[in-house]
Amino acid sequence: MSITDPRTTEQTPVHGPEEIAKIVAGGNLQTEQMVLNVGPQHPATHGVFRLLATIDGEMLVDAQPIIGYMHRGYEKLVEARDYRQITNLVSRMDWLSGINNELPLALALEKLMEIEVPERAQYLRVIMLEMNRILNHLMFFASFGAELGAITPTFYAFREREDIQFALEMATGGRMHFGYFRPGGLKEDVPRGFIDQALKGVRQVMARIDQYEDLLVGNEIFKQRTVNVGVLEKEVAFNYGVSGPIARGSDIDFDVRKDEPYLVYDRFDFDVCSAPNGDCFDRFWVLIHEVVESAKIVEQAIADLPAGPTLGKVPRVIQAPEGEVYVRTENPLGELGMYLVSDGDRRPYRLKIRTPSYNNVSALQHVLKGTLVADMIAVLGSFFFVLGDIDR
């Protein structure tokens, strides 16, 4: 767009009132479309995500998500690392749910090497995974509010995150990248006081979840901004391979924890939240209610936590036998799959990673067409993606 373009002053034909009336009546009055680059540096994209939007006034005619600004080549990097290093490396893919990323590789190796994981380790894993899920969901609760112009949810969410964060820190020493899962179990047993701290954090979240509902879900302006905005139909979600809270917001009742249980998830009583409409409001509703379900799982797991060792019989050198295995788990943002091919070496021959955000944002293109600029932000916020998880 040029401001001082001489052509516009010289070549624009001057219309008289009659001619203007004729143009208006003929329906030939046109407004120009404008290409708007949302990102790679934009407050609503949480990182270096770029959206090439063609807008007509404030209406999006077309939107093209462009990814890859943050590609770090993890799939290649892991081919030069041994297995113990990989668990730490892949936790950096989705930096909001580090400990969840560590799990699939551990599971894959346990399957390939036929390692028995002690009960206590499995229960502790579930506790950690679900606490991490709560952290992740609260983060998106905060950022979605901020994107809709509500600044307070951020501070509420961070207040609640702190206690859970502290519990995880007690056990692992980390706040984002934990490096706590090992093939065969855990790095070490949890310290004294961890259980109390975890319970405290989880119960606090459960007690305060009503406040969150009051603040956003029950708010009339919030409803106006989200209900029937950015509808993702069930079929489209299927076709793009969308998973996690976003798919469940589109009435796809699928959760790996329930439908293909791993660890000890089949022993706990929890619901899979899903909502029928597929709009921003439903996605957000699912997100909030999953926090409650996760909190329930943590409470149950702590109640049944058995005593015993936390690491199975693992050889000194982790060397997976020749073979291949696919493992999928329910990451906070959707289905995380790892396809491990081993040629019997200490490092994988190939590790294909299927991250949830990658598939989820590919559906954006479809959803964004025909929305307004303000709605675009609401849709971006309700698609709960992490840049590192898209580009990995």
Binding site: M1, S2, I3, T4, M34, L36, H42, P43, A44, E58, G145, A146, E147, L148, G149, A150, I151, T152, F155, Y156, R159, L216, N219, I221, F222, Q224, R225, L372, V373, A374, D375, M376, I377, G381
Partner: protein, 342 residues
């Protein structure tokens, strides 16, 4: 009179300018600090604590100083003269509004006969500045922001003017001093609720006019960065955007206090309240209005531009038009009641 100072017209003008130039920035700093602190406490946090020692009172001075040191960047393709002029067109009206606000019975820079008319006219000049800023920046986000601001200011100027018209009808004068004098009971409390509804409309319109949440689409950070001011930096940013925003907020709080809460008059006509000087009453009422603005900000998410327009044209404007009819009927058929209130 125990002593008398005689000033020539020029000297008087100089004094007035000096007072305004001292008061307005001070008020802005105080209000800005209040915004930091009130919002922080509504959100379970402390807010600024360190600059200046006591509860971070100097945070805005530090902030302002930081901006002064920053480079003044003008985009290469910007229309330089318009880009620079826009800042002044926003800054000057923000200061000029303060000329006619009566702080006390005699404490007023200029008691214009058409005070309220002047007030509303001057406060909407800044819309032109915003449009200029957005257009001259040669940035698409700025352009969208400017157009949003333009549309919004037009839509919300009307309810404000109409709500003020109700007050003018009740008071029977355009002079702000007369309007205050008519409020031995503030208009807000007048039966049968005309003043109350007008007050609500005025408050909502003010928030939209000030582009504060939940009506802050023209500067919505998560959507269009800072709207028309995306390309502004350093001193131009504070004097074109930050300072006028807060100064206008204080001004609208003061206008609301003057029009609906009875300005420098005691809140109810009870003898012993007269002891408290007028400017204290005025400050208290302004502070109350200010708190309303600050309270709303962290409470609500942002509306969408079309929803905002719909709200203005479909609800606020018809309501205020009906209100004017009601006020007319009230004056026509119940003049005695009016007399009692006076």
């Amino acid at each position: 009179m125990p002593f008398e100072i005689t000033l020539t017209a020029w000297q008087l003008l100089a004094v007035k300018v000096a007072v305004i130039m001292a008061v307005v920035p001070t008020m802005t700093l105080v209000a800005g600090y209040a915004e930091h602190k009130v919002m922080a406490h509504l959100q379970h946090r402390l807010g600024p604590m360190y600059p200046g020692g006591f509860h971070g009172w100097a945070i805005l001075l530090a902030d302002g100083l930081k901006f002064l040191y920053k480079e003044d960047i003008i985009p290469e393709r910007a229309d330089r003269s318009v880009f620079k002029l826009a800042t002044f067109l926003i800054f000057i009206p923000a200061v000029m509004v303060y000329l006619v606000i009566p702080v006390d019975r005699t404490l007023i820079v200029e008691d214009l006969d058409v005070g309220i008319f002047y007030l509303l006219a001057i406060s909407s000049v800044s819309a032109i500045g915003v449009l200029m800023a957005g257009w001259a920046s040669a940035n698409k986000y700025s352009l969208i922001g400017a157009l949003r601001a333009g549309a919004q200011l037009i839509a919300y100027e009307l309810p404000i003017v109409l709500a003020a018209a109700v007050v003018v009808m009740l008071a029977g004068s355009l002079s702000l001093v007369d309007i205050v004098e008519a409020q031995s009971w503030p208009f807000l409390l007048w039966p049968p609720g005309i003043g109350l509804v007008a007050f609500l409309v005025f408050t909502m319109g003010s928030i939209a006019e000030l582009t504060r949440p939940p009506f802050d689409m023209p500067v919505a950070e998560s959507e269009i960065i800072t709207g028309a001011f995306t390309e502004y930096s350093g001193m131009r940013f504070i004097f074109g955007f930050f300072f006028p925003e807060v100064a206008n907020m204080v001004a609208f709080a003061a206008i609301g206090a003057t029009l609906f809460l009875g300005g420098y008059m005691p809140i109810v006509p009870v003898g012993f309240l007269e002891v408290i000087p007028g400017f204290v009453w005025f400050s208290l009422k302004t502070a109350f209005m200010l708190f309303l603005f600050l309270w709303i900000r962290p409470t609500f998410p942002r509306l969408r531009e079309d929803q905002l327009q719909k709200f203005a044209w479909k609800y606020l404007i018809p309501v205020t038009l009906a209100l004017i009819l009601a006020a007319g009927a009230w004056i026509l058929y119940a003049p005695d009641a009016l007399q009692v209130n006076r």
